[in-house]
Amino acid sequence: MAEIELVGLSKVYPGDVRAVDSLDLTIPDHEFFALLGPSGCGKTTLLRTIAGLEAATEGQVRIGGEDVTALPPGKRDLAMVFQDYALFPHMTVVDNIAYPLRVKGKPKDERREAASAAGDELSLSGLMERRPAELSGGQQQRVALARAVACRPRVFLFDEPLSNLDARLRLEARSFLKKLQKELGVTTVFVTHDQAEALAMADRIAVMDKGKIRQVGTPKEVFQRPVNTFVANFIGSTPMNLLPGVVSGDVVQIAGQELPLPADVRDAVSAGQEVVFGARPEYLVFSPSSVPESLQGEVTVVENLGTAALVTLEAEGLSVAVTVPEGAEPELGDKGWVTTTPGRVLIYDGADGELVGSRVPAATAA
């Protein structure tokens, strides 16, 4: 168990490709931390640099207060679970789990004991003498976890460990993994490209793009108050509406219409400033009849989400998505009016996409 600290960490590949760009990050002890981002954002490179599989170009990796930047991976006291599980096909489950201990030169009895303890913990007790090829995907994944657990490391590193499971199993594995991490209390860094997975499992999330961290926060913070349009766009199973507009007094003009400017940012913007008006479909209200302070449009798409429908309105070339509870879905071609929920609107600067007034801790982030 240990804290992980990254100080000015960079990883530069030949050709000046900055996969990780002077990154500072502290992951406290016992935390379940997710690195989230689109493919190619550098999240896996960052994980591999923490592991020592990639050498850092600049900066430091500190684990438990100790600088491990120059240490080989084997001396960093961490365990990694790979996307393909990396089980040795020629070894039985018990040998796979005990392998790290064998390398460490532990006696055979101790190895078997630790392996069967870890196997029990992950409900593998009946499968210990099988080969990986004789196991299902979910079982293989648990063997890989058991191998990581058995050597009691200070840090777990997971590289997309759930992506090879089918959808239903993935949901089970999520809660299982979260519970396991809480029980063991081992500091865990988890790489994923699936924002739902990160939101569901992590204590804190770092959203990465092009080698830089764009936002660090709890799932709630990252979901409710993305600090820039990149994060706003990336987080959420239905993408946030990001509508370009111009500030005009107490309103924002969007596609020739007007929506009220939230009170808490009125001081932070000036009239005529170009902004991006951000609101999640879940936080917008659809109305089939005209209401004040609303955006009017025509229904062009209705997608069924199960308990609700995602309705897309077209308003002068701009599309706005809004969720409508079941039973109230409009027909295609209907007129519709959309109003905002107070406190759920985010205003981003039109030039750099940063959240306006983000320095002020807002009530919405509660």
């Binding site: 991976p73 084997g74 089980l87 040795f88 020629h90 390398v103 460490k104």
Partner: protein, 341 residues
């Protein structure tokens, strides 16, 4: 006449003739034979399902046979007939010259009995085994693996240079490499003596066996290197990284992760190069079996007795014995390969 012994010596002379190919009247090409068996098994399993649908082109049996016939005739003339002919003359006292050449007499198994008791034959067999063990099983295998292992993370011109040099030794015709090695090892104006400053040392006379062993390692390492490069590339990187993360040493990684993955490749490679080296005729071009029979491996021995010595009957018998030894080697490796899957 020289064709008569071709089935045995032909396989020997063409050392680097690819992976055995579908030639070889016997089972010299072990893996090929296995593939054939597999295919046969598969196609018979498939046949009942689409019986009646197999004649997709609609040629009919006779016209289809006509298309295959020329190939079959060639195979019969150049493979089946010489093989049967070799079997036949192996039990006669057939010679290249003299009375026995006109009226060969049937001698039963005399040739075989004579071979088993012949000190020259046994010496040749011994030399061949030494040659195979040191130049193929240890030399080519070991050096090929070492090169492949070392070149794993090497990219760019260094890799291309090493690969080209090694491959060059493999693709040059036997006659040319033989000339190169004779020039290298020559007593009076040889390159090696000039390099080592040992003028007048006759390598091919003082160390004939060592010379041809090193020659054959140099010649054949390319195949092992290429095969092992491919094998090493097939080891999943995540497994290697898992080993690295738990702190396994290079040796532990090799033993626990890499070797189990490439075990099948090692056996296949060893089988192929053993058989090729066993049948290799190229040493003849350098030493002609000399001095005094000290490099007379079996293919050379057969050539020297049957063609140079004119004892065709006896040579044919030894050829068949050699074929049987090849079979035994092949079966041994294949057993090993199948057993511990």
């Amino acid at each position: 006449m020289a064709q008569t012994t071709s089935p045995a010596t032909e396989a020997g002379a063409g050392c680097p003739d690819g992976p055995g190919g579908p030639d070889g009247p016997g089972g010299v090409d072990g893996p090929g034979g296995v593939d054939g068996a597999d295919n046969a098994a598969r196609s018979t399993a498939r046949d009942p399902a689409d019986s009646g649908e197999t004649d997709v082109v609609g040629l009919g049996k006779w016209r289809a046979s006509a298309f295959v016939a020329p190939a079959l005739v060639l195979v019969a003339i150049f493979l089946v007939f010489p093989a049967l002919w070799t079997l036949y003359i192996g039990i006669t006292n057939y010679r290249l010259t003299g009375i026995a050449a006109r009226v060969p007499e049937f001698v039963g198994f005399d040739n075989y009995v004579r071979a088993v008791g012949d000190a020259n034959f046994l010496n040749s067999l011994y030399l061949t085994l030494i040659f195979v063990l040191f130049s193929a099983v240890i030399g080519q295998n070991g050096l090929g693996f070492a090169l492949a292992w070392r070149l794993q993370d090497v990219r760019g011109w260094v890799r291309r240079l090493v690969e080209s040099l090694v491959l060059l030794a493999w693709i040059l015709p036997s006659s040319i490499v033989a000339f190169l090695w004779i020039a290298l090892l020559d007593r009076d104006s040889g390159t090696l003596n000039a390099l080592l400053g040992t003028p007048g040392l006759a390598w091919l006379i003082e160390y004939p066996m060592v010379s041809i062993i090193i020659f054959n390692i140099w010649r054949g390492t390319a195949f092992s290197m290429l095969l092992y490069s491919a094998a090493l590339a097939s080891v999943p990187p995540s497994q290697l990284e898992t080993a690295t993360l738990v702190g396994a040493s290079r040796w532990q990684t090799l033993r626990d992760v890499i070797f189990p993955h490439v075990r099948g490749h090692v056996l296949t490679n060893t089988l192929l190069i053993s058989l090729w080296t066993f049948n290799d005729f190229t040493p003849f071009l350098i030493t002609a079996g000399g001095p005094d029979g000290r490099t007379e491996t079996l293919p050379v021995y057969i050539y020297n007795t049957a063609i140079t010595g004119g004892q065709m009957g006896y040579g044919a018998a030894v050829s068949l014995i050699m074929l049987l030894i090849n079979l035994v080697i092949a079966i041994f490796y294949l057993r090993l390969l199948r057993e511990r899957r």
